[in-house]
Symmetry: C2
Subunit: 147 residues, 2 copies
Amino acid sequence: MPSDDNRTYSIKELACDFGVTPRTLRHYEDQGLIAPERQGQNRIYSAEDRVRLAWILRGKRVGFSLSEIGEMLDLYNVGDGRETQRAVTVDRCRDRIRALEAQRDDINATIEELQEFCELIANLIRDKDRGLWVRRDTGQPLGKYQP
Amino acid sequence: MPSDDNRTYSIKELACDFGVTPRTLRHYEDQGLIAPERQGQNRIYSAEDRVRLAWILRGKRVGFSLSEIGEMLDLYNVGDGRETQRAVTVDRCRDRIRALEAQRDDINATIEELQEFCELIANLIRDKDRGLWVRRDTGQPLGKYQP
DNA sequence: GTTAACGTTTACGTTAACGTCAACCACGAA
DNA sequence: TTCGTGGTTGACGTTAACGTAAACGTTAAC
């Protein structure tokens, strides 16, 4: 089957595919995050632009700002740069990784707390449904339809 | 040793402890996220307010907006509410958990890509340091100090 | 030939999460 | 008494990431 790797996309196609608006894509271009080719005035997006966009949107989802994402994308374009520049790149890359790991820890902690709380309430509901609730004063079961 | 659980804190103390500004705490209060007691005009923060603040800040770190965090904090205050309200609470709680898990997956994917890229550049540096680079045209080693 | 669907640039509007500043009060120390 | 420190309430400013609207140019369809 024909690989679609050399297909191109209009701005609306690409936007729809990724659930964003054309305005968003233009904005990313203004910020220097993507640079699609042009046919006259019109923007023509390539498969490469797609993966860039995917990167950008995932970066957003994990909490990076557009300028941070821009820096990270730049990291991929310095393979031909100077040595010192490369070392800096590696350092910053590792900083990002550490930050992401910290964020992941935060997320895990939040998930755990939410799970505990969620189960607690779910159990409350289930127990009431089984008529397990009792009156605080007498200790008598409330029965099934007690407010 | 004396438990500090009933200590109180001024706005500046609490702000410093958590690396934010007093303005931030007032803002959170405006949004209904915390409601410290007062001594006359002055805000007095309790140990309970501390844990609330910790929750808020972690919520921020994992990407929630203040209003979302407010809703989540509200979840903890409906234990005495109606049955239907409880069910809604559980549902929304589980939605949040799923969203957080998705976000965690994103983070893991990003970490992996950054790690691969990072190792790639690190290897470039190491190899050059060992004089392993060659000229593209002749295949001859470049030696150690080739730009 | 004009209407519809797509594209373009330019520019002002909006929201969130505070920053910043003014004007004020209270209190302990010098 | 004045100064420094820390608190208060407005209220306007700022930044990021777009939304929205105006004014305009293409191309295909009817």
